[in-house]
């Protein structure tokens, strides 16, 4: 249902821009149309497409001539690896920073973080990516410029280079994969971290001013216990619900970050599809990322219900 609406909103909006190739002869064009079923009336195309989608068939890429679902699946691990690292990094670094910003409210650290987080949300990801490239890859030359790995990479088991290299003990691949991950992860994590720091800070501040913290202090519980067990749990509940938001930032950012770093994931796939006017591919990409995002939000909603005992009442 959801997908139907998404499609039906976008497909009819474009009348004729279906195929590439201005140099194609009329016969070739016609042949292409037949091949992609574009000669049939619009509503039949739509129905065919939908039927295909439910069977996992997203059509065939006009550019690569391969089924889009295959293409997307092949690219998925790269994006997942990057996204996961970004989430991991931004959480590990962001949450404690948010806590400290709240505890030492109005201190130098707090103000510094505030400037940083506001900036973090104001910088265009693709520009940051380019800056990082400029600084670390080109000038200082401490990280690779782009790509995911040098050479062929480890034996493909899960598709995740880090896991695979660990499994087969391919240390060269591991090192190469990690070094290639640094810049893209940092770029992607930057706005995500800004959001996490902000929300954690707000959540911790709220909790610190609450009556239960007053009680815990009045009863002399150690302040480390109060902060890192009692306050954090409450603050994180709010942050977890923002993970949906963060994922949105990450997915949106991934498109552009992958483009800059030549990272062979879904985002780059989309960019290539744009360049090649590969309409079907774009549709497939939109569907898949959209669905993925919806699923993430669903999971977060459920997670929230599970974590917060109050919602189980």
């Amino acid at each position: 249902m959801i997908i139907t609406f998404t499609i039906s909103h976008v497909i009819p909006a474009d009348p004729v821009a279906f195929f590439a190739g201005d140099n194609a002869t009329p016969e070739q064009i016609e042949a292409l149309r037949v091949r992609y079923g574009l000669d049939k009336p619009l509503h039949i195309q739509l129905v065919n497409y939908l039927i295909g989608v439910t069977q996992g068939d997203l059509g065939v890429s006009i550019y690569t001539q391969r089924p889009i679902s295959e293409d997307l699946l092949a690219r998925l691990p790269a994006t997942m690896e990057l996204t996961f690292m970004a989430v991991f990094f931004s959480t590990i670094v962001g949450v404690p920073l948010g806590v400290f910003a709240a505890i030492y409210r109005n201190s130098f650290l707090d103000h510094f973080l505030r400037v940083l987080t506001v900036s973090g949300l104001a910088i265009a990801s693709f520009w940051l990516a380019i800056l990082f490239q400029l600084l670390f890859a080109m000038e200082l030359q401490i990280t690779p410029l782009q790509g995911r790995i040098d050479g062929w990479g480890p034996e493909s088991i899960t598709g995740f280079f880090i896991l695979d290299s660990l499994i087969v003990a391919d240390w060269d691949s591991l090192q190469s994969a990690l070094s290639h991950l640094v810049l893209p992860t940092l770029t992607l994590a930057f706005p995500a971290m800004a959001t996490i720091v902000r929300f954690t800070r707000a959540g911790v501040l709220d909790a610190i001013n609450s009556n239960y913290v007053l009680y815990e202090q009045a009863m002399g519980l150690p302040s480390n216990l109060i902060i890192w067990k009692y306050v954090l749990r409450n603050a994180l509940i709010g942050t977890v619900t923002q993970i949906g938001l963060i994922f949105g930032i990450l997915i949106a950012g991934a498109v552009v970050v992958e483009a800059v770093f030549d990272w062979p994931g879904l985002g780059l796939y989309a960019v290539e599809a744009i360049l090649n006017s590969d309409y079907n591919a774009i549709m497939g990409f939109t569907l898949v990322t959209g669905a993925f995002f919806i699923i993430v939000n669903l999971v977060v909603d459920i997670l929230h219900g599970v974590i917060d005992p109050r919602t189980q009442a």
Binding site: I2, F5, T6, V10, A13, D14, A17, R105, N106, D110, H111, R114, V118, S119, L121, A122, I123, A124, S125, F126, W127, I130, L131, Q133, L134, M138, E139, R201, A202, L205, D206, N209, G248, I249, I251, A252, V255, V256, A259, V260, A270, V271, A273, I274, L275, S277, Y279, I282, M283, F285, T286, T289, G290, F293, I294, N297
Partner: protein, 286 residues
């Protein structure tokens, strides 16, 4: 109404970060407005001078020249016009569509409003840029299509927001009273509900400008925005890539421009929200 405006302005003036934001925004507006006067080489928006390509920053060219030899500084100034136009029109259109939809959906409790909200939810479920890419790519790269793509993906946000606020406003006694007195739905919505949710809308408009500008720049970067030789900022960054690291000024200028503009709106919007939305005040510094 005006007393509250004065109150708001005086409060804003006291908040340093909002002031900075306001200054940045004002700067942007002035630059956009007076670009032809401020730019040393206004003709470089469309003219090229290949012999002078890729010169570094100098007294002649503050930000250097680009691959076609045009003065980057001048082009950036004109780029401000594009940025403002896209952002303002896109947000304006999405508000104009979304707010009435939200009001109507909030006021009525029938399948139409449910349906409208379902549609909104679907749109909101997907990151804006993803949908915008799909739309912009299908329609072709141009400034109008960027605006269209942005508006089409943003209106559900307003619809949802206004819907929720309308629903809660309907439970207020003064609204119930006016309905009981026989006020028409239109009257209730426009004269009673709308004024009360307007502060919320205004705050989010300001905050939303930043995000919209970034998305527009990203679209430009991907080649989906106004085509060459447009001095759109995102596009310029994309152009600059092949000339790095030597022509570092080429990428820096538009990036900094985007950064400053978005910062301006974010800071100002934050300050505005702290004043107008008491709920968030607790977490505010100071």
């Amino acid at each position: 109404m005006f007393e509250s405006a004065k109150f708001i302005i005086s409060k804003l003036a006291k908040d340093r970060t909002s002031l900075v934001g306001a200054c940045l925004i004002a700067g942007l507006l002035l630059i956009a407005l007076f670009a032809p006067l401020l730019a040393p080489y206004p003709q470089d928006v469309s003219e090229f001078h290949p012999p002078e390509r890729l010169l570094g920053p100098s007294m002649l060219h503050f930000f250097g020249t680009d691959r076609m030899g045009s003065d980057i500084f001048s082009r950036m100034l004109f780029g401000a016009r594009i940025t403002i136009a896209i952002a303002v029109i896109a947000i304006g259109v999405s508000v104009l569509i979304g707010v009435p939809i939200g009001l109507i959906a909030g006021y009525n409790k029938n399948w139409i409003s449910d349906g409208l909200m379902r549609v909104s939810d679907i749109f909101l479920a997907v990151p804006q840029i993803i949908l915008a890419i799909a739309i912009a790519q299908t329609l072709g790269p141009s400034i109008e299509n960027v605006i269209l793509a942005l508006s089409a993906t943003y209106w559900p946000f307003w619809a949802r927001l206004v819907y929720a606020e309308t629903r809660s406003a309907l439970t207020e006694t003064y609204v119930e009273a006016s309905i009981a007195l026989g006020a028409s739905p239109f009257r209730v919505m426009v004269f009673h509900v709308l004024p009360n949710i307007s502060s919320s809308i205004i705050v989010r408009t300001t905050i939303g400008m930043g995000g919209t500008i970034l998305t527009a720049a990203a679209l430009g970067f991907l080649g989906l925005g106004p085509p060459a030789p447009s001095p759109e900022w995102g596009r310029t960054i994309a152009e600059s890539r092949e000339f790095l690291p030597e022509a570092w000024w080429y990428a820096t200028a538009p990036g900094v421009a985007i950064f400053l503009v978005v910062m301006g709106f974010n800071l100002f919007g934050d300050g505005l929200r702290d004043i107008l939305d008491p709920r968030t005040r607790r977490s505010h510094d100071g």
